[in-house]
Symmetry: C2
Subunit: 324 residues, 2 copies
């Protein structure tokens, strides 16, 4: 059977046809049209899906259903989006809309959770049933899997690990309204801010400063590139980002005792420059039996994790007959 995976983002909506063995038959993307509070998105998706099915001569009977990873606050049981700021939705019945137009069962979950399921099925989390996925991008996203099931919690907020407080005092303001969240220091945005602060705070010679002076700005990528070249200022910033991430992951690991931690997102391209100090701090802040049972891995599926996880969840839910 074929499963359709969709990863709905603020600018692009990625889609894929994936069979039960995880083979990707085709993948494609359309722009996410956010005008008129996102009212055209569902019909754009349906149209694109139905056209693709036609192109591949797929009857409705050979397609199991559609999984959709969406941003924002979602009721996973009803597929109702309470609020998705980037998209413009408020109290939007996404599952219902898509089921009516595509005429296939639809499963909705949070985009970070779908990415975690994708890595569990075909990526760095393969074989593990207890898993933390962290996406270090503009923000810090999280998906937590315990005993093979996504943790949703009582109101769908589980896994919001970007908002674990890592600086209880003197932390920077976070978009969530708190201060000192993990996201303020270990996201790409946070790392850039830490680096700008460091450049401002002292006037040591640094190749990062040279970049700043020639480009007028720096990125988290610049920081890790310079840290990899042993630039002291950049290494201090990279170490700090890894310290706070290790602190947060230590607390989460003592709470859920995962087998694997999968690190994805742009910042994960720093590879060992991030993972080596991260592992050191994760060890310090977890427990020996927790640390020994867990490996830290780089995500393997990149931007495909979301569509793969969405296809997997659709397959699982429909096989188990736990669809609503």
């Amino acid at each position: 059977m074929i499963n359709i995976g969709i990863d709905l983002g603020g600018t692009t909506t990625k889609m894929a046809l994936i069979d039960d063995h995880g083979k990707m038959i085709d993948k494609w993307a359309i722009a996410t049209n956010t005008i008129d509070n996102g009212r055209h998105i569902a019909s754009d998706i349906s149209e694109s899906v139905l056209k693709k099915m036609q192109q591949f001569n797929l009857e409705h009977s050979t397609v199991r259903g559609v999984g959709v990873g969406a941003p924002g606050f979602i009721n996973m049981d009803t597929g109702f989006i309470y609020q998705a700021v980037n998209i413009g939705w408020k109290d939007y019945p996404l599952k219902e809309e898509l089921e009516q137009s595509i005429r296939l069962p639809v499963v909705i979950d949070n985009d970070a959770n779908m990415a975690a399921l994708g890595e569990m099925w075909l990526g760095a989390g393969q074989g593990a049933k207890n898993l933390i996925c962290v996406t270090l991008g503009t923000g810090v996203g999280g998906g937590i899997i315990c005993d093979g099931e996504i943790l949703h919690g009582v109101s769908g907020m589980a896994g919001e690990i970007g908002h674990i407080t890592v600086m209880p005092t003197d932390g920077a303001s976070c978009n969530c309204g708190k201060t000192g969240c993990l996201e303020t220091v270990s996201s790409a945005t946070g790392i850039r801010r830490l680096a700008l602060d460091a450049l401002d705070y002292n006037d040591s010679v640094s190749i990062l400063r040279d970049i700043f002076e020639s480009k007028g700005d720096i990125s988290a990528e610049d920081v890790f590139n310079c840290a990899a070249k042993k630039d002291p200022l950049s290494s201090t910033v990279a170490e700090k980002a890894a310290y706070y991430l290790g602190f947060a992951l230590g607390s989460i690991a003592v709470t859920i005792n995962p087998e694997k931690i999968v690190i994805g997102g742009g910042v994960s391209h720093a590879e060992d420059t991030l993972i080596v100090p991260l592992t050191k701090y994760f060890k310090r802040f977890s427990l020996p039996r927790v640390f020994d049972a867990c490996t830290i891995n780089l995500a393997q599926l990149g931007n495909d994790a979301g569509v793969i996880g969405a296809a997997w969840l659709c397959m699982q839910k429909i096989k188990q007959g736990t669809m609503n």
Copy 2:
């Protein structure tokens, strides 16, 4: 049907006969005989259970099985105790021993987890399927329930929330080998230590100091009693214990999004003197949507939580047919 719940402690083993509706038919306790590395414990338990069944004219066919909450590191699937320091067991096949002598199916889990299940079934957690139970006693124990199931993690270490780091720098040493764990500041032992430090650090007038000078020592209970009487030094210590507990629970709640947090153990007798500042800090360190979905409650079952949870787990596992 009758379920037998057992709560195996370092000094006493509590037992109870509990029916499927949660009615406690009888409860009793025997001393835990730890001599010879605990080799008499299993036979003491079996003897006591069989005698009690006889006394109540219970045939084996009317008893569903036995649930046992045990301390230490346990393989919950096999009922094998890797290590239980207080009891003297190392690589001990508890489930097998008990099943052979009692001739009933036996389910083993961690004692803190059993207490959490007890509160979920008949206590402060009733109705909630996403629950954190914290026991503030000599140490800090934890049991976490997500979607109605105990979180075990990959090696049975999930819920070890006493060992979440809350003081990343300058923390006191913990029994686990780390420093700055929650247990070092919010357990009865930790609160006593904080108070002794505070008495040592300044010489302000304090009714806690009067107690210290007359008794030669103080307890966490003294601290909260004095804090309830607005003693400034004691209030500062109580506030500090609540601050760190709120910090740790904030991180856990952002991770698992619970409906209820249940606080038990001796320190919970402080009631509002603990819960009011705890709620304030929990709000600061969680997210609005996480905080709004969650209530903090005092445990209701006291020392019975363990046997009740053990009876419940036995009933569930055998009903579901998920026994090993």
